[in-house]
Symmetry: C2
Subunit: 226 residues, 2 copies
DNA sequence: ATAAGATACTTGATGCATCTTTTTTGGCAT
DNA sequence: ATGCCAAAAAAGATGCATCAAGTATCTTAT
């Protein structure tokens, strides 16, 4: 069970929500982990009310599920669900990349290149957490550059659902995780929408391979257990 | 302020949430309407807790916003936001239509045709509410047929945000709202993915015209007021 | 009559008590 | 040892009291 960052947002509810989101996206929960409102309340040092608020919000976006009315858990993802999310990401991040390529300024490009440099260093240092965070930052930067906040929110929700899977899936991936980020930047520099879209799609499909393999491995285990 | 359907779900919270969703999707709130937790609690005959739960969930998906920490309102949509949502719908409903075309059974087709027949009758009867509901049912049936539940959830959230706009936008639209549904069904019958995608895209772009005009009208009014 | 300040009210956030249902546990019989 | 049933503990749902912050209203001095 992870420890959480300190609470410093607008309200306790949203602070807890933010902390839980971070924990999910960083892969600090495992599929199947059970959450208890009272336990979390103790860990956060609040009453149960703000925790409930946060849990309900997360449950609403299916980052957490109620297996039964009193059993709150991190869901495990089926292969078909992951494939669906991947297909959605291909369409939406493709749109983001296309649009970003049309409007990207040199400052935007600089920002992306900085992220990529930091990511290279994190991978060289073997800092898995930082690596996944920077990978994520790169992906979220594209809808940002494109000026598509709604799309950004949708992707954030999808990432929340994938979080528990990526915790260790990127160990074998190594730097394959970011190889496809370079063509994205090149395409943005040339304002080449089609190339930007293709590059990010490649990244999603190939970069997601280790995740798919992990899911298949886990589903095989499920089978054998039954 | 609308009246709400009776509560009959699993829990009071989700019942209230469902009722508020229905009200939003049916366009029974207007942009700018203010919600008060205590008032809603009285209307629903519950305490404030389930209402808060529902409101927080809706706020999380941006179907309602907290203008200030104590001022809960139905947001009005900017033109750029609507255009973004439309672009996202084009990608996602396009994907749903493509996939549905590959897997649709004759039972699925029958279901779509039934919806379309009912929709024709509703329009002929001048039943605006039923018309918009059936239009929505048609759109939600495609990801259902395609077996894409995540996509369905995303679209549901987007519809929640558009709900307050469509209440009267479809009056001038008349039956233009469903003209493009026929080519969709034809494409599904032929298992023609590309045609299905194109047809639904046409429907989104052309069917959404009245909504865009309403937004432009309201933004002009906003201008003049300032 | 008007404007500024003070008072009362409104309203969401938080904490907490209680209720019902589920889950766990302990003991007993096989 | 194992499986089953009952009692106890756990846990989320609901209701409600209180708090703090914002809003409206009323008073009062000019």
């Amino acid at each position: 069970m992870p420890e959480f960052a300190t609470l410093d947002h607008e309200s306790l509810s949203s602070a807890v929500y933010g902390a839980l989101c971070d924990a999910l996206i960083q892969g600090r929960f495992q599929p199947g982990d059970r959450l208890k409102i009272r336990d979390l309340a103790e860990q956060f040092g609040t009453s149960v009310t703000p925790i409930r608020d946060a849990i309900l919000r997360l449950a609403n976006e299916e980052a957490i599920t109620f297996r039964s009315p009193r059993d709150i858990r991190i869901p495990s993802m089926s292969e078909s669900r992951y494939r669906e999310i991947r297909a959605i990401r291909v369409k939406l991040e493709g749109l983001a990349a296309e649009t970003a390529a049309q409007v990207a300024t040199s400052a935007d490009i600089d920002c992306l290149e900085q992220i990529l440099r930091d990511n290279e260093r994190a991978i060289a240092d073997g800092d898995r957490l930082k690596g996944t965070q920077l990978n994520q930052a790169f992906h979220f930067m594209l809808p940002e550059i494109a000026g598509l906040p709604v799309l950004n929110g949708i992707l954030r929700r999808l990432w929340l659902q994938m979080g528990p899977l990526i915790s260790d899936a990127y160990i074998p991936g190594g730097r394959a995780m970011i190889d496809h980020h370079y063509p994205v930047i090149e395409a943005l520099k040339r304002h080449d929408s089609a190339a930007a879209c293709m590059a990010i799609v490649d990244d999603i499909l190939l970069g997601g391979k280790p995740i798919l393999e992990r899911i298949e491995r886990e589903e095989r285990l499920q089978m054998m257990r039954v």
